[in-house]
């Protein structure tokens, strides 16, 4: 006797504890096996492009904060770089150093949330608490610097909104030495945890050619084994002065490009960020934090595209200027949005529970996906 079965459609989200925000996944499942995944977007569409058209160049900066709200410094920076390139502004040396330091601190803070929520989704709650404890140190440094814990509006076109706090250098050094010792805790607690490896190794393997074809970037691409990092391969600002490595997935626990590799790349990237901060923190020159630009920014006609390495991958800003005080158009190339497209490929043939692990390892932020 043959048993008649049929495929089932299961909706995951938009209210679901593991979808990293308001994402809805339409799963086509055969029993426990996932046949197809279709992400539905638009639950957090906040009209960024419309706002950018209606605002002056400087007024757009706070809206860039709210794209990838876990890495607001990087978003500010990408936008500021684009407008500066359009206007041909050279920012002071002091600004460059401070920008690099805050962006790298932000990368650590962002990865801490990413790793923590990835672990919490698949059942390990304790590392989440540990990572948030350490994240508070970084947030306190940022709060001293610009008054905000999460959405900073700190990096402005042509400079910074404030100079750094007198204690900034001391506090950053304290944090670097503290976190260098503490990061081992994460390895002991989670990276080499048998249960965690069982849940993530050989799950959601992203082959290198698929990753490149889909345009994946950031840890999702590097997890598949290619050392592509814009900080080294298309250096912006002063990154060419620093010595750092680019961690890649090596398939230490399973195949190259599995969830564990993407997880591990993030852990090692935090170490490299600490290394960059260490090299930069002692060399902040004296000087002004605003270059001499008019209050009303009016770039010449033209288009510009700049890209920077945000914690989630390649963040690009495409700006069209028609010579007015408002941008004609600002298009954001959001890394989370592009990386999310790969999800359908990764989930095929896995169990429903693995979808959670895979989604966590891609690490999306819905503010950036929907914009």
């Amino acid at each position: 006797m043959s048993l008649k079965t049929e495929t089932m459609v299961l909706n995951m989200g938009p209210q679901h504890p593991s979808t990293h925000g308001v994402l809805r996944l339409e799963l086509k499942i055969d029993g426990e096996l996932v046949l197809d995944v279709k992400p539905h977007l638009g639950y957090l569409h906040r009209c960024f492009e419309k706002h950018a058209e209606a605002m002056q160049y400087n007024q757009v900066v706070p809206y860039t904060d709210r794209l990838d709200y876990l890495a607001a410094m990087g978003n500010n920076w990408g936008y500021a770089l684009a407008v500066e390139k359009l206007m041909g502004i050279q920012v002071p040396e002091r600004v460059e150093y401070i920008r690099v330091i805050v962006a790298e601190l932000q990368r650590i803070a962002s990865h801490q949330v990413a790793l923590g929520s990835n672990a919490a989704d698949i059942g390990a709650f304790t590392p989440f608490l540990y990572l948030f404890r350490d994240r508070e140190h970084i947030l306190s440094i940022f709060e001293d610097t610009c008054g905000a814990r999460m959405l900073y509006n700190y990096i402005w076109v042509g400079g910074l909104s404030h100079d750094i706090h007198p204690d900034f250098v001391k506090k950053v050094k304290e944090f670097v030495s503290y976190y260098k010792a503490t990061i081992i805790e994460l390895d002991n607690l989670l990276s080499y945890n048998k249960i965690f490896i069982e849940r993530t190794a050989n799950i959601g393997v992203l082959p290198l050619d698929t990753a490149i074809n889909f345009g994946a970037s950031g840890p999702a691409l590097r997890g598949s084994g290619i050392p592509f990092d814009l900080r080294r391969d298309d250096p912006y600002s002063i990154y060419d002065r620093f010595d750092f490595e680019i961690p890649v997935g090596k398939g230490l626990q399973g195949q190259v490009g599995d969830c564990w590799d993407r997880y591990y790349v993030r852990v090692r990237e935090m170490e490299q960020s600490l290394r960059i901060i260490e090299q930069a923190i002692d060399h902040i020159p004296e000087g002004d934090v605003q270059s001499a630009i008019p209050k009303r920014i009016k770039p010449p006609k033209g288009t510009v595209y700049t890209r920077i390495e945000n914690p989630r991958g390649e963040l690009g800003y495409f700006i069209i200027s028609d010579g007015n005080t408002n941008p004609f158009r600002v298009k954001v190339r959001a890394p989370s949005f592009v990386n999310l497209e790969v999800l359908g490929e990764l989930c095929k043939g896995h169990l429903v529970a693995d979808v959670i692990a895979i989604l966590g390892s891609i690490d999306i932020v819905l503010g950036e996906v929907d914009r």
Binding site: Q15, G21, R46, P62, F128, F132
Partner: protein
């Protein structure tokens, strides 16, 4: 009840108004719907983590509206999401409370003027008990909002309302 342990030779009776007892029980275990919308959700997570520790007020995230007493609207509510939030709210058993966290949920926030897809305040869809201002509010502000909600529950009446 550690204070009263082994203080009495016999079992005892506590006499208290029913309202006080119910309100005390309700305000001390506000289970919230674990549900993040946008940037504020990260601050809400930070509030329930190590430093600020929501748990000490009896706030535990639950993953289903059927077990939740309160819902924290943490972030920008879009038109597409608003209908879903209304449904979640309706699925919660009474008594149910709502904290609107952040400027977006209060009134549309920075998206007030040009946000064609942003709901201008969650109170247009569901009734709000406490508004917490900020973009995003600090964890202390959210805790203060929770204390305000507890105050509100403390003064609630169980009596039938006369027409």
């Amino acid at each position: 009840m550690g204070l009263l342990d082994k203080e009495f030779s016999d079992g005892n009776i506590v006499i208290a108004p029913v309202e006080d007892l119910f309100n005390w029980a309700r305000l001390s275990s506000i289970w919230q719907l674990g549900f993040g919308l946008a940037c504020c959700a990260i601050e809400m997570m930070a509030t329930s983590m190590s430093h600020y520790d929501f748990d000490r007020f009896g706030v535990i995230p639950r993953n289903t509206p059927r077990q939740a007493d309160a819902i924290i609207i943490s972030g920008t509510v879009t038109l597409k999401m608003a209908t879903r939030i209304k449904r979640l709210y309706e699925q919660m058993p009474a008594p149910k409370y709502i904290i609107s966290m952040g400027s977006c949920a209060n009134c549309g926030g920075p998206y007030w003027e040009h946000g064609y897809h942003v709901l201008k305040g969650i109170d247009r869809v569901i009734p709000v008990d406490v508004y917490v201002p900020g973009c995003p509010p600090r964890p202390e502000a959210l805790l203060e909002g929770l204390l305000k909600l507890q105050d509100k529950i403390r003064n609630e009446s169980l009596r039938k309302k006369s027409a």
